[in-house]
């Protein structure tokens, strides 16, 4: 495979130096931006270098991070999953409903719902041939409706083991952060070290070729959406546990957009064929830190949103635009 895959691109455009440069920026821009923003905050934000502040930032990034990891896999297959926010809401709505049967049952049902929703999306995409954006759009609309029907209004969660899952910590590290770290390692391993990961990247690169080469395209696609749904449900469970409440109208709202942005800023192209897990983590942290920085300095919501819009465009321009604009 290596010999065939590394055929150098034809040297039509003789600007090797600039191409290396922009490629470096695309790969590492997110780390540079993250480091810069941390440095800026160390200087201008009071009490930024404080265990409590950092802890809070890590806790707050958990839902977006977990969702973004699943999204990275889906985007790697040249797909997209808009239903993640609705799946989060669904999982969060299930917790208070089933907590009477015990915490583990409630969590299991919530995760199963996420896996089921992901399987539905995967089946529609892989077997029926519906475009990912349409399939997951339908599930998003319907899923949010189902979550609202289940939850109705804000419900508080008092079950001790779920509360401790959300608020407890070991050696000063919150459980939710640990879980997110474990998920990140597992997903990284899946992408880099497993057959599934290689098949996923091959399919994202060229689905037709992968199918002709005999790869189980449909199974891999379905699995990918299943994993994405499962992770979204996990994010919903953790969010519900941390806030000790579930509000199906609010949980996970617009998170699909933050997650997609984190993935793209992290260097995973929307055109598939590549998955950058470490970049995605950095992307999620960067998005969280941007929001936090604006909050630290009491920037009103209106300005914050406009600033975020400009940052997203600038970041994606650095990631993608430079190559396209030059061609």
């Amino acid at each position: 495979m290596t010999d065939l895959a590394t055929t150098p691109p034809p040297p039509t455009r003789a600007q090797p130096v600039r191409r290396v440069d922009s490629d470096w920026v695309r790969r590492n821009g997110v780390y540079v931006a993250l480091a810069l923003l941390v440095a800026v905050n160390v200087v201008i934000t009071d009490n930024f270098v404080d265990a409590g502040t950092l802890r809070l930032q890590l806790i707050q990034v958990v839902p977006v991070l977990i969702v973004a990891l699943g999204m990275a896999l889906v985007i790697g297959t040249e797909g997209i999953d808009l239903s993640v926010g609705a799946v989060m809401a669904l999982a969060a709505a299930i917790i208070p409903l089933y907590v009477g049967y015990g915490a583990s049952v409630a969590i299991l049902v919530a995760l199963l719902a996420g896996a089921a929703s992901g399987t539905l999306a995967g089946t529609l995409v892989a077997r029926v041939g519906v475009q990912p954006i349409v399939a997951t759009l339908g599930i998003m609309v319907a899923g949010r409706g189902v979550a609202n029907l289940m939850g109705g209004e804000i419900k508080t969660i008092r079950e001790p083991s779920i509360v401790s899952l959300g608020t407890g910590s070991v050696l000063g590290i919150p459980y939710v952060v640990l879980i997110a770290a474990v998920v990140a390692v597992v997903v990284w391993f899946l992408v880099r070290r497993s057959t599934y990961g290689r098949q996923l990247v091959a399919i994202g690169g060229n689905a037709r070729a992968a199918e002709l080469a005999g790869l189980p395209v449909k199974r891999v696609l379905t699995t990918t959406y299943l994993v994405c749904g499962l992770l979204a449900a996990l994010a919903g469970v953790l969010l519900a546990a941390r806030s000790q409440a579930s509000d199906p109208t609010k949980v996970g709202l617009l998170i699909e957009l933050s997650a997609i942005t984190a993935v793209v800023i992290g260097g995973t192209p929307l055109s598939g064929g590549q998955v950058r897990i470490v970049g995605t983590i950095a992307g999620a942290l960067l998005m969280q830190l941007i929001t936090a920085t604006l909050i630290f300095h009491n920037i009103p919501d209106s300005t914050a949103q406009m600033v975020q819009a400009v940052i997203v465009i600038a970041a994606v321009y650095v990631q993608i635009g430079r190559r396209k604009a030059g061609s």
């Binding site: 997209i80 808009l82 529609l124 077997r127 029926v128 041939g129 519906v130 475009q131 954006i133 349409v134 399939a135 759009l137 339908g138 599930i139 998003m140 609309v141 319907a142 899923g143 949010r144 409706g145 189902v146 609202n148 029907l149 037709r208 199918e211 002709l212 957009l257 997609i260 942005t261 793209v264 929307l270 009103p300 919501d301 209106s302 300005t303 914050a304 949103q305 406009m306 600033v307 975020q308 819009a309 400009v310 997203v312 465009i313 994606v316 321009y317 993608i320 635009g321 396209k324 604009a325």
Partner: protein, 335 residues
């Protein structure tokens, strides 16, 4: 799908289908939403006495006009192979600007939102067409930007501007011609114009060509970038107009409107048979899609005992059902 169908070319997409069965499949595939719409409307008329009344039909027409005008712009964007996620925010922004502007006269209420929303569309179009950034991300940023601008204008969303009593601006959506609100007529005219532009002008052909195959359109010397930019400007203008209409109808600039509207608009366009990859679709199909979504909502309201969240469940399920049907029929047609 067996291995044989992969290598097979897709003659059904162009030219005439071979068998009668294929021809029927093709018709149903194109008009699937229309069939469901007619069936839904007929059964609703039979089931609920209140559905077919002139009052209810007028109400559906008014309610549908806001989404319809947004979905019309979305149709053009999607036909170029793009997507516009900003329309919900731009819609809300247009409404707030119209309500604010109406204090300075009906003309300001009309022109100010169109100028601002058109400008947002222009900037998005420029970044997408000239900068080469993905429409998905650019218009997502546009969503945030427009919402931020709206919040800045309304003291972080706490102020709701009212249209002054007796303002001529109220007449736009509240006044009636032949028993039907002016806003509905506006939408009817816009769809007629939109249909003519898409199917009878060179701009429309260029839109379809770009969505079909952008590289080929570019090599043919078609003005790809300009056509795309115009599509995003139109989408911004029409989303703003939707906001203007609802501001006139409700006599106020409600700040919380428009959330999730982009998805409803996309759903309507897809239901109407337009391919999300661009290149094929009709303006009339979009109108059918919008009407179908609205009839579903109306029927669920008629039932009364049903939670309004069923609207979302049913709309989402219908969307999945129709696209599954479209895929299935496309395969039948190919045989």
């Amino acid at each position: 799908m067996t291995a044989g169908t992969i290598a097979e070319p897709a003659p059904g997409t162009a030219g005439t289908p071979r068998s009668t069965r294929a021809r029927i499949a093709r018709l149903v595939q194109r008009q699937g939403a229309l069939v469901i719409l007619v069936l839904a409307a007929l059964s609703a008329t039979a089931a609920f006495d209140s559905f077919g009344t002139q009052r209810n039909v007028t109400s559906i027409a008014v309610q549908v006009s806001f989404l319809a005008v947004v979905a019309l712009g979305m149709t053009f964007v999607i036909l170029t192979g793009g997507i516009d996620l900003s329309v919900g925010s731009v819609f809300a922004l247009g409404g707030v600007l119209a309500a604010w502007g109406s204090q300075h006269g009906a003309l300001v209420a009309l022109l100010l939102p169109l100028a601002v929303c058109g400008a947002i569309g222009l900037v998005q179009g420029l970044i997408i067409a000239r900068g080469g950034l993905p429409p998905f991300i650019v218009t997502l940023a546009g969503l945030l930007f427009a919402r931020g601008l709206l919040l800045a204008l309304t003291d972080e969303g706490s102020t709701t501007y009212k249209v002054p009593a007796g303002s001529a601006f109220r007449e736009l959506a509240q006044g009636k011609l032949l028993g039907v609100n002016h806003s509905v007529w506006v939408v009817v005219v816009l769809f007629a114009v939109g249909g003519l532009v898409l199917h009878r002008t060179s701009y429309g052909s260029t839109v379809l060509a770009i969505g079909g195959q952008e590289d080929a359109a570019d090599l043919m010397g078609l003005p790809v970038a300009r056509t795309k930019i115009v599509a995003y400007v139109m989408s911004g203008l029409l989303a703003g107009l939707g906001g203007i209409l609802i501001a006139s109808y409700t006599s106020s600039g409600v700040t919380i409107l428009g959330a999730g509207m982009e998805l409803e608009a996309i759903a309507a366009v897809v239901l109407g048979g337009t391919l999300l990859t661009g290149g094929a679709g009709t303006v009339l199909g979009t109108l059918v899609g919008v009407l179908l979504l609205q009839v579903i909502k109306n029927v669920i309201n008629q039932v009364g005992s049903l939670d309004s969240n069923w609207q979302a469940v049913v709309s989402g399920s219908i969307l999945l059902l129709v696209v599954t049907l479209q895929r299935y029929l496309a395969r039948v047609e190919r045989r």
